[in-house]
Each structure stands twice: as C-alpha cells, then as structure tokens.
C-alpha cells in the first residue's frame, strides 16, 4: 500500500486577542490509497482546521508548521500558484451544507465543468461530457436532464452528491470530506456515507472523513483518529478502536452516543477547555474519571496496545470491553392515566395567503393523527424533515391553527379565549432545538427563568430570585449564572436554561422539539440524562420530537413514526424496535446507530 497523505507534526495557530493561540497541536497521520480515515472530534477539537490546513484554505493570518506530504510532494513548501494546481486536481474536497457550498447562481454543470477545466483545459463540450459522466457516477437519476439545473432545485442529499461529483472531477488521489453528512436526514446520510465508501474503493482514493459523530463512520471507516482540544488522543484501525477503545475519552465518547437499545448514556462532566486555557498535561485530565496526579505533568506519549495508539498514561486494559448498562429491559408500560388526547388532527399550511394567490394546493402537513399520551409518559415522535413532526409539536402547543381535537386532561382548547386559554396553554411547555434562538439575547439568565413567574404574577421579587436559584441548581447549573446574558453561556448550558424556564411554569407536559440535535455528543448525553431524571422525579410527561431514532428510543416509552404527515406506526419502544411492522420504520431503525455485537 502506498501513502497518499502523510501529516507530520502539523500544528496550526491563529491570532486571537493579540497573541497566537494554538488550535491544532502536532497532528501526525498517514492515509493510504483506498483507505478511509475518520478524523473524529467534538466542536473545538481542531478537526476542521486540520482538514483546511492540508488544502491551505485557512485565513492568511493562520500559522501552519509541520509537514504535509501529499503522494510524495511536500506541499507546505509550495507557493500559492503551485498550491492552486494541487487543489481540486490531487485533492478533492466536500463540505458540510452543500446549499451554501455551491454557487446559487450557476448551474451544477457549469460548476462541475469549472472544476475539470481549471486543471485540464479543453473544450466546454468535453467538460460537459465529463460532468454528465460524474453526475451519473454519484447516482443522480436522469443526469442529462439535471445538468442545467441550479443547486436550489436539488434536494439536500442530491446536492451533496453534486458536491461529491465536483470533488471527483479530476480523479483526485485524496478526498477530504468535512462533515458531509451533518444536517442530512439519517437515511440520506447513510446513503451518502455508502456512496463515499464505494467511490473510495472504485477509485482507490484515500479519504479523510472529518466528523463529530462516531456512529456515522463506524460502518465504513478503515482507521480512526480521535482529536480532543487540538491533540490526538487515540488512533488506529477502526475495528480495534470500536472493539476496545483504550483512551478514557474515546470510551466516554463512544458511551455517550445514543444507540438503539441502550439503557443509560455515559456523562462526560465539564466542558471542553478553551484554546487559550488548555491544561499543560493531558487535556482531558480535568474531565477524566481515571484522573491521576501524574496526568497533569506533561502531555502523555502515545503508547501502542491492542492495535491502537493511545495518548494516556493509564489506558484502559484490553480485557475490559466498553461497558454499557444492560440494554432495554424496559418495564412494560404501566396503565397510564390519559393526559393528552389527540383526535383526528389535521394541519394545512398556506390557506388563501395572498390577495392575488389562490388557496394552496399543498398536501396537508398533518392528517388523521390520533394518539393518547399517559401521565408521566414519554412519547417519541420520529420522522425525516418534512414529515410533519415539528408541526405536530406546534399544534399540541396551540401555536398554529388545526382541525380535529387536542384535549388536555379531557378538556379541549376550542372555544377558549383570553386568560382561560392562556392559562391552559401554560400547562404545556416547550424546549426548542436551537438553544441560542430560544433565549432573548438581551435579557439576563435570571430574568429569563423568572419570566414564567412574572407572567403568572403573585410572586415577590425575593421569592422569584429564590425560585430561579433553585431551578438553576435543579438543571445542574451554577446559581451565579443568573446575572449573565445568554451570549456568555455554552449551547448545552443555554438548553438547560430553556429547560429551567419551562419548569418554572410548572407544566404537566413538555414538548421537546429536537432538544439535543444542535449539541455535541457529550453535551447531548448529559442533557438527555437530565431530562430523564426530571421526568422520574416530577412525573412530567414528554413529547420528544427527533429525527434521531437512537435518541428517541433511549428516552421514549412509546414511539410514533411519522411519514408525510401521517402516523405510520405507533407502539411500545421495545416491540417497535424488535419487530417493526412498517417498512419505513424498519429503514429508520436501520439508519440509526445500533449496539453492535463487537461493542457488547
């Protein structure tokens, strides 16, 4: 096997606040022809910086040291002009969010042709033939008809295929894919992943697959490289890594990925250190469960063992397999007292919206949805984007008009007005997906959490302050945080604040609309565990809306599968996973991370 990419002690620093801050520290790795390497890390780990520094696409202020050997050429020595010849020809790159990464005002053909002609010249006609061939190869149906379409006319998954076709235009030796599946529905993400894996084999191309999500690469990656706070913590063949990770961070990361059938997610306490304030010794030490005093002295050397290299003084013994709590011996659902009843619910958007516009002929966003939610139950709602799952949440929250009936404790909302309606609505609260959006950036945390108390009235200032402090404590935050503005807290903390605000209203039911999908894996695990504990302690009911089957299966007592606005399957979590009756359910389960045999 020949190496297509060899990084040796690659380091990157960026100027920030007047001094150079090291973002990436001494990254060394080798990718062979036909090998797919996953570069894994949470946000702030430096993985994207690593990918961009290979292509030298970082801002000019960035300082890069170390060596980048691309198929025998040392490219750190190249000037910009020579570097341009390397980009696209020897290395192709695929980015996250293809809608933004493609030029909106040029056809896909012209953008693929450009990639070809920059390096090979030749006629437009020849380049167009190449574009056609590429679109076919990445699996765009009827490619001839799509050549002159614009990026916005493709679906998310198809757009990413176009991106891949563009990156492949000059048959590069190395493909760098930076989070190419993030933001796509699990089913689509799985297809894209499969496509990249297939192309790598067919073209004997090295692939550097950058991702925050271990579960995405589990199936196809040949080797794994895990970064934490700018340094390698563990690397080696994927099968060894997944069989027995040896660095405590790897173990924790694997344990915090929600998987179908898992009973408890592993918490990683604390936060990622900021680049300016990274520990001198092992960077994971402050959060590590096996922390020893020696860990703080110097960064530990990478030691071999069990196939992988782990930068840890006390790596986990090989005999110890990653431990999960025993899977899904879920108690049979008790006889819940019905709390929320949804009957024949339908929602249709865009009715007679404009002066000159005819009534919309769009299909309904929701139709014939019916279920009952028990007191203290967690109902999971899964579906892809556009399936109507968020619409269902909004209808239950009474945010949008709907047909049919939604009754809370036997009483519907229709006919209610003014204060009566407001007070009944209050009993259902909500936690949104984007924690930044759900907190007013100009209001202090304490006042945000006190908002429900103020709106309800009848509490004194001191009482409010006391309640805010106890709520902050309840969701695991420092009560001193009350004085901060939302810009001063992390995404996970902001989400906890949103939960505290919902709790302050003393609701009976909370609609969780993708509460963790914009968070890192470790943060997500902590938040899910918090929600679980809250429900256990207070008897809250949840409706958990998510595209992530594993998350839903971890949380929910029952699961409703939504497709094109209709519930296609609804059943107990255990039996639904064990024996899905609808093929769509089966496909969703297939795309979700599983507790695989080698992990048990």
């Amino acid at each position: 096997m020949s190496a297509v990419l060899q990084l040796n002690a690659l380091s990157v620093s960026l100027p920030r606040g007047g001094r150079d801050v090291s973002i990436l520290d001494g990254l060394s790795l080798t990718i062979n022809a036909g090998e797919m390497m996953a570069l894994v890390g949470e946000s702030g780990s430096g993985k994207t910086i690593a990918a961009l520094s290979i292509m030298r696409l970082l801002p000019p202020r960035a300082r890069i040291t170390g060596s980048v050997d691309l198929d025998g050429t040392e490219i750190t020595a190249l000037d910009e002009r020579a570097m341009r010849a390397v980009r696209g020809r020897d290395v192709g790159m695929v980015f996250q969010n293809p809608l933004a990464a493609l030029n909106p005002s040029r056809t896909v053909a012209s953008q693929i042709q450009e990639a070809w002609r920059v390096h090979n010249g030749g006629s437009v006609r020849a380049a167009r033939a190449r574009a056609l061939e590429l679109l076919g190869e990445v699996g765009i149906p009827n490619p001839e008809a799509r050549l002159d379409d614009y990026p916005h006319e493709f679906s998310g998954g198809m757009r990413q295929r176009v991106m891949i076709a563009m990156a492949l235009a000059c048959s590069p030796k190395l493909l760098i894919a930076d989070e190419p599946t993030t933001g796509l529905d699990p089913l689509i993400a799985r297809q894209i992943m499969g496509l990249i894996a297939r192309l790598r084999r067919e073209h004997r191309m090295g692939v550097l697959f950058v991702t925050h999500d271990l579960s995405v690469v589990e199936e196809h990656a040949d080797s794994i490289h895990v970064l934490y706070a700018g340094r390698t913590v563990e690397c080696g063949p994927a099968k060894d890594f997944f069989a027995h990770p040896r660095h405590p961070y790897s173990e924790a990361l694997l344990g915090s990925v929600a998987r179908v059938g898992q009973a408890r997610l592993q918490n990683i306490p604390g936060n990622l250190p900021e680049p300016e304030a990274r520990p001198r010794g092992c960077r994971f030490a402050p959060r590590c469960a096996y922390h020893q005093p020696e860990c703080d002295a110097a960064y530990p050397p990478a030691l071999p063992g069990g196939g992988t290299l782990a930068a840890c003084l006390y790596p986990l013994p090989l005999t110890e397999r990653i431990s999960y709590a025993e899977p899904a011996a879920k108690p049979p659902p008790p006889n819940w007292a019905p709390q929320l009843e949804v009957r024949d619910l339908g929602v249709r958007y865009g009715n007679g919206a404009g002066l000159f516009r005819a009534a919309s002929k769009l299909p309904p966003a929701l139709a014939e949805v019916a279920f009952t939610l028990g007191r203290g139950e967690c109902l999971g709602v899964v579906g892809e984007s556009g399936s109507g799952k968020s619409t269902l949440g909004r209808a239950i929250l009474q945010m949008i008009p709907y047909q049919g009936e939604i009754a809370l404790d036997g009483e519907g909302f229709s006919g209610l007005r003014g204060a009566a309606r407001r007070s009944r609505r209050r009993r259902i609260q909500v936690v949104f997906q984007d924690p930044r959006e759900s907190l007013n950036p100009r209001i202090r945390i304490g006042d945000i959490i006190a908002e429900p108390l103020r709106l309800a009235g009848g509490t004194s200032r001191t009482e409010q302050r006391r309640r805010v402090e106890s709520l902050l404590d309840r969701v695991g935050l420092n009560p001193e945080m009350a004085g901060l503005l939302p810009a001063g807290v992390s995404g996970g903390q902001a989400q906890r604040i949103a939960i505290a605000r919902a709790l302050a209203a003393e609701p009976e039911l909370v609609v969780l609309d993708e509460p963790t999908s914009s968070l890192d894996v470790s943060t997500q695990a902590m938040l899910l565990n918090l929600l679980k504990d809250l429900a256990r302690d207070t008897g809250l009911s949840y409706i958990l809306i998510s595209h992530d089957f594993a998350v839903v299966s971890y949380m929910a007592d029952r699961i409703a599968v939504l497709n094109a606005g209709r519930i296609v399957e609804l059943g107990d979590t255990g039996s639904l996973i064990a024996a899905p009756r609808h093929h769509y359910t089966a496909a969703l389960i297939g795309a979700a991370p599983q507790l695989r045999p080698h992990l048990r």
Partner: protein, 293 residues
C-alpha cells in the same frame, strides 16, 4: 459557515464589575468617539453659542456689507452688512429647535406604526403597508416640498411636517423586524408562558430591537436636519426674517458670482458637520452592537 473556522467555545466568565463596564462604555474611540465629539460640538454651537456671542444677528451695518472675516466680524458680513457669525449661531438654534423635536416625533410615529402593523391582524398589516408603500413611492423631499407649499410655515408646522413625513422608512423597518422577531423561538416560548402581545412587544421585541432603533433614531436626527436645511434652502423651510443654515446658504448662492466664500463654507460645513455627527454616531453604534444581535 466560515465562522466555523474559529470554533470558539462560548466563554463562561462572569460579567465584569459594573464600574469597569461603565467606564468601558464611557471611553468610546474611533468612529463612535468622533461622532459623539462632533455631536457635542454641534449642540454647543446651536444651543449655547447664541448666548456666548451677544451681537444682534439682524443689526445692519451698511458700511461693512459683504466684507470678509475681520476682528470686528470674525466670520465676515453678508450683503446687507449683517454679522455672519451671529447669523450662523441664530440659524443653528432655529435649525436644531425644529429638527430635533421633528426627529423625535418621527421616531415615535415610526415605532408605533411599525409595531402596530407587525403585531396587529393580517388585514391591518396589509392596509398599513399599502399606505406606507404609497408614501414611500415618493421621495420624502418631494412630499415635503408639496406639503410645505400648502401650509403656513412656522416652527410648529415645520415640526409636524417633518415629523409626519420622515417616519415611513423606520416604520417599515420596525414592522419587518417585528415580523421577523415575533416568530423567533424565545417569543414563541414567551407566548407559551401566557404572554400577550403588549408584553411581547415591551419585553422582547423592543429590547431586541433596541440597538436597531437607537442607530436608526440617530440617523433620523441627521435626516431631519438635512430635510429642514434642504427645505430652507429651497425657501420652503424656516421663513424670513428668521434665518437657518439652509437659508443662509441659499442667500449666499444668489450672489455667488461675487465669490463670497465666507458666506458659503460656514453654513455648509455646519450642516455637513451635523449630518456627519449623526452618521458617524449611528455607524459607530452599529459597529459596536451589530455583531451581538
């Protein structure tokens, strides 16, 4: 997504001590500092100047008509022999005393109109926006000229005129911001908690929009001074015998063939300074607040 390049984790530091924050705010530099300095100077010239320089602006000295700057007349005299410095100071007061209240009036009308359209029922929004489109289809100066030709011009009517003409831009901005902000998750969460429209407007919308409002309010002061000066320049603003910067410039232009540079530069520079003060202050505030919205 290029900001992902610098994956900055949110810092969790406690807020700086209030006193330090206060002084931090008090020492603005760059654009904002320059703008604020200029604002203070203009306000000083307009409101304090007339009391510090006592000569009567309307006293005529025929023997000294159209003289350049001298010890007796630091800014020279006009064609009637009036003291140009005294005229400038008096014109400043006349300009500011109309333009500032007009800007405040326009600001209030714009905010209330925009909020009403953005928060009210859809039909109301449609009617109000249609009216706004009609008004915005014309340059505001054209409307001003038109209405100024209809009414008797004094301070009150000028304030009302300027105040009721220059609000549509702000109203549209406030309405669009209202519509954009009221769909945001924190507003939805607040409504879920039982908040009514007034509460949402007061607690959430106005607070989120505050930077935009202050910045645009600053710009409106500039617009107001400009509009009044332009009207006066066209003979449709501050009426004789009172003078304003715009009318001083206009009367100088009548005799421009005589090269009376001392009559043209000062009033022009004062209007320019006022507009620059408003523009720089607004831009400075925008730069300071723009990114943490």
């Amino acid at each position: 997504m290029s900001d992902r390049l610098i994956e900055a984790p949110a810092h969790t530091g406690m807020p700086a001590a209030p006193l330090a924050r206060f002084f931090g705010r008090l020492r603005p530099r760059g654009t904002l500092g320059f703008g604020l300095t200029l604002t203070v100077i203009i306000l000083f010239v307009g409101f304090i100047g007339p009391f510090l320089y006592p000569p009567d602006p309307f006293a005529i000295h025929p023997a000294h008509a159209l003289e350049g700057p001298s010890l007796a007349f630091p800014f020279g005299t006009d064609e009637l022999g009036r003291d140009e410095l005294a005229l400038l100071l008096s014109g400043g007061l006349a300009t500011l005393i109309v333009a500032l209240p007009a800007a405040i009036l326009a600001f209030l009308v714009g905010v209330v109109y925009g909020l009403a359209a953005g928060l009210g029922p859809v039909w109301l929004d449609r009617v109000m926006m249609r009216l706004l489109d009609a008004i915005l289809a014309l340059p505001s100066l054209i409307i001003l000229i038109f209405f100024a030709s209809l009414v008797t011009l004094d301070n009150t009517s000028l304030i009302l005129l300027l105040g009721f003409i220059s609000w549509p831009g702000l109203a549209r901005l406030v309405r669009n911001e209202t519509l954009a902000q009221r769909g945001r998750d924190f507003v939805l969460a607040s409504e879920q908690l039982g908040a009514g429209r007034m509460y949402v407007a007061r607690v959430h919308l106005l607070r989120v929009m505050a930077p935009v409002l202050v910045v645009n309010g600053t710009f409106m002061v500039g617009d107001s001074i400009f509009a009044l000066s332009a009207l006066s320049f066209l003979g449709l603003g501050v009426q004789p015998p009172k003078v304003s910067w715009g009318s001083l410039l206009e009367s100088a232009l009548d005799i421009i063939a005589l090269d009376p540079w001392w009559l043209i530069l000062p009033p022009g520079l004062l209007v320019f300074g006022s507009l620059l003060a408003a523009s720089l202050t607004g831009q400075g505030l925008l730069a300071r607040w723009g990114h943490n919205r």
